[in-house]
Subunit: 351 residues, 3 copies
């Protein structure tokens, strides 16, 4: 019932040290693995744990293998990036256990006129597909989803239950949109006249590339006139808000609760820690990394790690430091006064 | 197929300089507009761009018109607030292109006993309307929405797909509730007995005025005993949380990810930047403006702009400043000691 | 039509001073109560208001009763924790007015093969129940909910409209999940290879204890390999994000907009103010209280109150203090220089 190590190496590469006919039925962490599992070592500080693992086989780097091999009796797959190898192997084992949704349209779904649904796509219960929408080959639209008029869902893209994907928006191939996410809602655009807000129609779209993951209850606004763009390979966690007309560069990742205000342009290969916030109309360069809980209030033109949150303290200590922060200019003025006095004193000494 | 400039001026006012029979088919930004468009100048720093625009006509202020007119060949509509004029014209053009949902109740909708649905209202697929609910004239309840028992949806109000609007809550006319929003969920109220929480039933309602917009995945709690109140013209962006028994004053606007804890009373014409937070039981005066990412921990009794977030820095610089912030009282004490020493020194000098 | 005070005391305890046959029809705050209500005094500073209340009866502590009784003509129920008593009495009155959902499965619901639904459970309109799911006695699954394959919903647990509860996850008895919440979505786990993210399958579950409340639009990720665990009595408000493999200890409460990154382990009886954030892989001891808007970036091993947010100020004052915070090390260096100079001066004086 298992998978031969030889098959793993044929699929995912790596150099096998051991019997290619040895079978494993799944992947497990070093401490939990038994003789039916393959495990992996992605951090050298766990070499001791790896050597003592009960796993039938290990995925590890050449450097770690040199140290671990003498003490470890099982087979080894040596590869430059064991964590990426683990991810691929885990996908492989998960796919074996997964119950693939059957192609076809559930009888309770509502399909608009002119919608084009690939024969291999799955449309779940109580789904609504708008007029003229296009659902690609192998796409999965789970129960309760809404796909608006003329929207396009790419091949092998998966909308989990209760996703809302509005009219004319598009997502490419192999994407994942988790439950409760809302794609293509109106951006927050108003003109103000005498204190009263007048809505500016939001007529742009959201255009999402290939291999994009969007977390549960994340919201992405459609553009006001132009489009909001999420490039290939972007990974968004849960509860994220992306404002209208933003562009998120390829392979950028954002952790949960991040907010990006309208018209921000974010580079490629960036990372944003949880609850980081980006003001509107800013530019963020490629390979910028923003720490959790940090507010980005100006454009960042240089790659690097940026941080800005108040350090946590016992409440009583915070109250002291916060009171001083409130009056920092007083502190600075006192120092200036001291400097002046000392200069006078020093001059007197010298005369 | 276009609209005469004369018709725009008849509808929205302004003084037309040019041919009233000239037709435009839509509105576009200065840089994108061509001879089929009208465009607008709402910021004087783009006067040069306006003069060079390919748009058939411009909406602009008298002050800008005086500068732009000599260099611009097209027609002009002169008005005191070009941005508000743009918003209205854009609504007009968008309505022309929009496919209005047909009146009537989708066959898949579930309608509770005694619900009153106006003949001109649209009820989409898989909608659930509770017993005794009232849906006003021209209201649109898109697919997957839930409207609870005895709830009231005002005339021409639009609930986008997958909105949840709980029992007995009310919204007035011309409102918009975006997808995934939840109105009237239980407030977070518990009594604590020996460490264990006992739920306090939340029996109040959410009462929402006219012309209120509520963003995607925003949540508004029902009151504990009294009601939570959202006054006329309030605009809430996505992912906002409003606690039980809050009152949000008329024409106040909040950007995405704002949180307002229970029983806060917020004035009229306020603005809250993204991710601003307001503690419970506070009062905020009219015309208070809170910057993004700021925590409001005390009542604000005076109009004005308020801010409080840690400034972003390169991570290494932040680590230095954060370490000092943690020990600011040490710094203050050192200054006090210096002041004392210098006083002694100065006295010695003078004797 | 009311309830005898004697019945309340039989149900919830306390010492009645007054006529057990006196009837009340509901509970109301001191200021709003009339002769048909019972009211409560949970904060001694309102003793004057209690004495003057029009309520037919009061719930109060012995200490307050000693002061209030001489001036108050109504009946009194004396109990050590009047607020908890109020909560229980309010639940009792609310249950009398509530329309209990009828047992049975709505005709429009989709029920997967092998699902086991208790006869006393209610399954609303447009609900989808996955294959092999188990719905306990007296559970209520409101309209539009999705319950995944082999999920388990405990007895008397209530899923409000439009909840998503994913495959194989479990919740115990007497829980409440509010609308729009998503339980068991994939955690945010990727391996990175040359800048490109490779998804790590999330094969763990979410396991939720008894008496847990989960707020509207809150998201809880399933574990990567092991499970995410929410222990008994936990109360989560709206818009909260809990990452994969977290453990939240029993009777811990979190206010709205809190975020907890993956693999954080949080103790029992903790409280988190609104929008507090916890980084991943941290440990938080029992009885830790984190203030609103605070970022927890290190483990907290000692009970107590912790805070960390930038104090709010008028914007002009904030700009001054923020500019100094950015350059705090300059300020510190100036103080060091002053100390050195003064030391030299002092030495000169002494020689």
């Amino acid at each position: 019932m298992g998978t031969r190590l030889g098959e793993l190496v044929e699929r995912f590469g790596g150099q096998l040290q051991g019997d290619p006919n040895l079978q494993v039925s799944g992947i497990a962490p070093l401490a939990d693995a038994d003789a039916s599992h393959i495990s992996f070592l992605s951090n050298s500080k766990f070499r001791g744990q790896a050597a003592a693992s009960q796993a039938a086989a290990l995925i590890l780097s050449a450097a770690d293998d040199a140290v671990v091999a003498p003490d470890y009796a099982g087979a080894r797959i040596v590869t430059p990036n064991p964590y990426a190898y683990f991810a691929r192997a885990a996908q492989f084992f998960a796919a074996q256990r997964e119950v693939a949704p059957a192609p076809g349209v559930d009888a309770s779904a509502s399909i608009g006129a002119g919608a084009v649904i690939a024969a291999s796509a799955h449309i779940g219960a109580h789904v609504t597909i708008g007029e003229g929408a296009v659902i690609g080959e192998g796409a999965v639209i789970d129960a309760g989803c809404f796909v608006g008029r003329e929207a396009v869902i790419g091949a092998a893209t998966h909308l989990f239950a209760n996703v809302t994907f509005h009219a004319r928006c598009q997502i490419g191939a192999r994407g994942i949109i988790h439950s409760g996410a809302v794609i293509g809602t109106d951006g927050f655009g108003f003109a103000n006249e005498g204190g009263v807000y007048i809505k500016i129609p939001q007529t742009g779209r959201v255009i999402i590339g290939d291999d994009v993951d969007i977390g549960a209850n994340t919201t992405i606004d459609r553009g006001a006139l132009a489009d909001t763009v999420i490039e290939d390979g972007v990974k968004l966690d849960n509860q994220i808000q992306i404002g209208h007309n933003c562009r998120i560069g390829a392979h950028t990742a954002m952790a949960g609760c991040v907010g990006v205000a309208g018209s921000a342009v974010i580079g490629k290969y960036c990372t944003f820690g949880g609850a980081a916030m980006v003001l509107g109309h800013l530019s963020i360069a490629d390979r910028v990394h923003v720490s959790s809980g940090s507010m980005v209030s100006r454009s960042i033109l240089e790659a690097g790690q940026y941080t800005g949150f108040y350090p946590l303290a016992k409440n009583a200590d915070w109250e002291k430091s916060a009171a001083i922060v409130r009056n920092l200019s007083t502190l600075r003025d006192k120092i200036r006064a001291l400097e002046k006095t000392i200069k006078t004193l020093t001059n007197q000494e010298q005369t």
